[in-house]
Point group: C2
Chain length 425, copies 2
Amino acid sequence: MSSSLIVGLVGGGTVGGGVYDIVEHTHKDFFRSLGAQVQVKRIAVRNLKKQRDFSVAAHTELVGDWRLVLDDPEINTVIEVMGGITEAKEVVFGAIAKGKHVITANKALLAAYLPEIVDLLKKHPQVKFGYEAAVCGGIPIIHTLQNDYLGDQVSQILGIMNGTTNFMLTKMESGADYGQVLAEAQALGYAEADPTADVEGHDVQAKIALLAKLAFGVHVPSDQIPTKGISSVASVDFEYARLLNATIKLLGMAQLSPDGKKLSVAVSPFIVPREHPIAGTNGSTNIVNISSRNLVSSSYIGPGAGRYPTANSIVSDLVRLARGLVGPPFPVDRAMPLEPDYTSRFYIRLRIRDQLGVIRVVGEIAERHGVSIYAILQNPISDPNDIHFVVTTEPARHSQVQAFADDIEKQDFTKGPPLFFAFLL
Amino acid sequence: MSSSLIVGLVGGGTVGGGVYDIVEHTHKDFFRSLGAQVQVKRIAVRNLKKQRDFSVAAHTELVGDWRLVLDDPEINTVIEVMGGITEAKEVVFGAIAKGKHVITANKALLAAYLPEIVDLLKKHPQVKFGYEAAVCGGIPIIHTLQNDYLGDQVSQILGIMNGTTNFMLTKMESGADYGQVLAEAQALGYAEADPTADVEGHDVQAKIALLAKLAFGVHVPSDQIPTKGISSVASVDFEYARLLNATIKLLGMAQLSPDGKKLSVAVSPFIVPREHPIAGTNGSTNIVNISSRNLVSSSYIGPGAGRYPTANSIVSDLVRLARGLVGPPFPVDRAMPLEPDYTSRFYIRLRIRDQLGVIRVVGEIAERHGVSIYAILQNPISDPNDIHFVVTTEPARHSQVQAFADDIEKQDFTKGPPLFFAFLL
């Protein structure tokens, strides 16, 4: 049953070190008990002189070029944890082409080249491909979707898939300001010096595209996912959310239309009601919630990133591989039109100069675009020249609300584009 | 890769009907796409004349005796969903002995005969054994523990594993009374006419024993699990829990001692702080929370029972079987002493007649048993002859609190045995 795995690890940083530590140190006995040889023969690193924070066994060679991993005929399994999508593509595609099994944590690579990877794997059916670590670090959501929803029908998948922004939103909920929490996240090493990928939602975009592929079989190109980050969310939005007995979370969402014929995929902040398990998922923790016919609603909560959570997912793929238990990495391809124009109730925050007739104009513009207003919320006014107020809507299409917001922006009482996002229903 | 599965279904009730419906109707095309024949050849039912709530295909024969399933040499896979542990034991043991794969939803059977099943499977290594449906119906917790924690070290597993009692506790939290919610649960078909197995925690006992085996490799006989149900919990306990910014949940818990050398397993109501994901898991939903070295804390939430959630888990086992992806059902056996005497902060509700000096006596008894009191809570008193008050403790051993409670019960001011249970820390 068990196969010998001679592993080449490409990347000796945070995650690579964690994988090495588990395979060669803490769980060496467990791997021995599998009755198969599992050992890391080579680790390819960028800088051979850099001090490593893990101890390297005598049977492992550090090499300065990942080609020495691919060219080693004894290595039958490549673990790619180098990141990036240029060299990593050469590593992953090269390894598959040479018939080596691949385990990767690289969501960006998968999102950028999913159809190519699917095709290449079809040409090399003996190659096993694991990517549990690519989405939500320590949550086994890939394995679960690959194995436990096959007799079910998923209708929606959504969740908090970025720990950095959830950490920031959780802090903002306690009254902190966007700039302040971003600086704090950067000081703690949670956010990059250039935080764009996190705060503008691009990281979540890649993850929800992968989960949509797994849940629905549909390839969703990242550039076709309407994406709104958290950089426009202010602490005042949390005050309004509190009035709505809700909070604000940055979610990736993929949702079948009620007739099952179209798929809407989006990344956006959402107003999340307090009683939903997503609302209570705080700090850098991730959650994925799945709606389906058999299970109705199920949630998976765990760490979204970090050395050992991510390494744990890679090791789980490695154990499956050693035991011969890796199944098809992706479901059967399915084509389905994408519908960017999802329907929801919406939260719209307007920033205006107070003047007579604003509400009448807002009402007229809403009516013109077919947007039915549910409520208008107003915090106490301190400066009549810079007022926030919030309009909540009855269910409306995103495009209607966008048109409403564009029209509001043109009015002379407006002090900037309205911020809007959907309610999680 | 894929194997033909000729299935004998033993049990044509709620769960059996759900499995049949998925395999032979809603997901027939998916099973065809596996490239393997998967079909239900026989369904053994107790009463052949009873009307079934699913339509039976021409290739499926209803039989009145499960021996006709076991004796059919063409049937290579037996799904046992009949329940009970007498005949079900004959079915499961008989099928394994004949070299047929087994999928079962029967937690009671597994809990009662776990070492025997493990031994029998060792004698028949070609037999695959699936039991995802046995614990927490729709949560894939068995597969997750079998596959995704193998490079990790679990230190604690706990959760809400019984939907009936969680439904009842959720109702009681809103002020309803135990007797009233039990009657309601019975009327809705959630609770049996004899609700003992649910309300006294025996159902959870079987489930936590199975999860302890999976997480720690240790066989924990059910009769060695200290078990306290919810029948003594009153709505007044929820009032006190609210003062503690917490709620009350019936949990199964298995916990390694800090030195990793002993295992404590218990079933009891717990005081659960509001911010813990377990506190927000309401109604008949189940949750399993796992503490481990790599993942720190992770939670799995879903339906705990019901036709399609349970059937979904059985179908997931069936798909793995068809794909040749079923791994070892249990981890390597490990022996570890059981320590029933776990340490926690405790909640103790006393029922007394008001008289001078009660608090002094309570304090003396606590001191005598080494129990350090953290706080004393008292709701407004309506009848001085029947007063509730609550003592919360600093961390203490269960046995110390039991001795304290036994001593309190002997005092002349006492109106019944104190109710006590642990805080979830």
